[in-house]
């Protein structure tokens, strides 16, 4: 957390939490089942909630408490609940169609993580402690992994989850690097997540009604 001096235990917790967050994104990369993805996303959001809460307590920043509990409510409870309910309603048991196989996905995820680390190191190393570099490089790698999930998986639900992982990465970056970010921005971003998820779910329901599947592989009519 830039600009604050924290006790040692916060650094240990922060390191541990961001490592687990990275791990949960790799769980998404390595699984074939949609419900796995949603649970991993909920777990990841829960970890981000704990991180935000710890940072809020240590820096005595009321805004961060508020943001933390909103994260808990929106990202950990509401969004995964909607997605799971949707799966139940349409009784989706289909596997995710992968364009890139799982081992290769994991290797690509690793490469993206390393790339994010170097990018962040190059950008903010002159003025920030090591712990911030670690945490923010993991945040950036979440963004990259989210993009990778969108391009390598052919289901509407995984597209939504890819976008959500990108948003998680941006949120983590903003909490770790710029804790003084105005609270209105966080609120609006959370609102935006809800609206986007709702819109995409409605669209994918239309798609299910018309084409009988959530798979996006048949979306190939419009070319050129």
């Amino acid at each position: 957390m830039l600009g604050y001096v924290m006790p040692l235990y916060v650094y240990v917790i922060e390191d541990l939490l961001v490592a687990l967050i990275l791990l949960s994104s790799f769980v998404m990369l390595s699984s074939r089942w949609i419900s796995f993805y949603i649970h991993a996303y909920g777990f990841q959001s829960f970890l981000i909630f704990i991180l935000t809460l710890v940072l809020g307590i240590e820096s005595q920043n009321i805004d961060l408490y508020f943001v933390a509990f909103l994260t808990l409510f929106v990202r950990t409870i509401v969004v995964p609940y909607i997605l799971l309910k949707m799966i139940k309603k349409f009784s989706i048991k289909e596997e995710v169609k992968l364009i890139i196989k799982i081992p290769l996905s994991i290797i690509s995820g690793l490469l993206l993580t390393v790339f994010a680390y170097f990018l962040i190191y190059r950008l903010i190393s002159p003025f920030s402690p090591k712990i911030v570099i670690n945490a923010s490089s993991i945040a950036l790698s979440l963004i990259f992994i989210g993009f990778f999930m969108i391009i390598s998986r052919f289901t509407t639900i995984t597209h939504i989850l890819g976008l959500l992982v990108i948003e998680n990465g941006i949120f983590l970056l903003s909490v770790v690097v710029v804790p003084t970010l105005p609270i209105i921005v966080e609120l609006v971003v959370l609102f935006d997540i809800l609206v986007t998820v709702a819109a995409m779910l409605i669209l994918s329901m239309f798609m299910k009604m018309r084409t009988g599947s959530f798979s996006t592989t048949m979306l190939n009519r419009l070319v050129g």
């Binding site: 830039l2 941006i170 710029v178 986007t196 419009l222």
Partner: protein
Amino acid sequence: MKIFIITFLIIPLFASLSSFIIKNKRFAEYISLFSSSLDLIGAFVILYFSISLKTVSIFNGAIVIDKFGSYIILLVSIVYFVSSMYGISYMRLAIEDEQMTDGEFFRYYLFLNLFALTMLIAPMINNMAIYLIDIELTTITSAFLVIAEVTEKSIEAAWKYIVIVSAGISLALLGTILFYLSGNIQGSGNIALSMDWTNLSLNAGYLNKDIVRFAFVLIVIGLGTKVGFAPMHTWLPDAHSEAPSPISSMLSASLLNTAMYGIMRYFNIAGENLGFNFPRTIMIITGLFSLFIGVMGIINQKTTKRLFAYSSIEHMSIISLGFGLGGIFGTFGALLQMLGHSLIKPVMFFGSGNFLHKYKTKDINKIKGAFYVMPKTAFLFSMGALALIGAPPSIIFISEFLIILQSLKNGYYWITVLLISFLIAAFVSLLSKTGSIVFGKADDNFNAEKGDFSPFSYVPMLLPLAACIILGFYIPHSLHSLLIGIVHIIK
């Protein structure tokens, strides 16, 4: 002024909700037309205020409207007005021809006015993060307009649109956060206390240069997705071709300008910080590459609306090139091109909408001899095509001429050569395609009833076309001084 701005924004909201609740078709049509005409008048009033009172700043600086902002508001309201007028004719025909259900009809009017509302808000907002969220809301409202007629193709287009653009906006959000970070680290003196563009551009000199460089590239990629810069343009032809014609024109002629506005705000901040060479180089490179993709798309297209969607990409890249070349002529030309694009793109999309209802196809090879079938539409369509490709006397001729002049003035002769050759390629292919639509020999077994549709189908084409041609002859002094003022804001 506060009350005026609030009223200005409540009018479309009221129109959308009331048309959805009352569920009377005639009422929904005319309340949208009425609200859009009120907003057009309101946009002129805001423009007048921002010229005479310098900058409107209300609600503690949460809403700031300077000349640039009010110019974009004017462009949006012009397109909103003509689109809601044309929508009356288009939707009546859609109910007759395509069995559009009542639910779809009222959903269309609900989201039409909401879409216009989100676009009218965007240029007023001072906080750039909220601006980006507003752009995201334009994506969602317009995605529901793309599926106004639920077909497999339109669902595909809306899905691609929402996924690609949301991902792009999140990158732009990352760029915005990095801009904020660049003013909040040691050595910068913690000057960026908020994400307002007024604040950032005031303190632009103190921002961290490395981070600003990275953040500006992210902004161009992110908002460039919305503007339709290649290679992030892939959603654009799909959404434009599958949406109903009034929505295609709103997407093309006003949404792209609204997103371009955001890029130019950051352009100013990055330029004040790094010197203008860096952002200009980026705009020139994106502009040239998108120009190439746009012109190649124009040459390859076989359907009317995709043709004009690629033409939008071409126009936006010329605008980007104009801003990138900078100087008085380049920036002035780019701003004028924005106006020309907003005036002439609706004409082309409305014409294609009329042909779609008459010929029941978007295929260019099957639409022939429109001049004999629907003379008024065909006349306006062909005039519009001439104005679109920059034949004098149209405003686009002047703007493209100014941009070419600026490239010569800067001494970038290779840009001049590339730009002129791309423009000629677009000229030839657009002219041959529209020529075959208008004057080609009609199919013998084509037996639809001859004649135009109701006046609502061609009057909205006539008004902007006339404005475009008159402005091509004579640019009023007030418009000239407004644009010069915006040039000084951007530079």
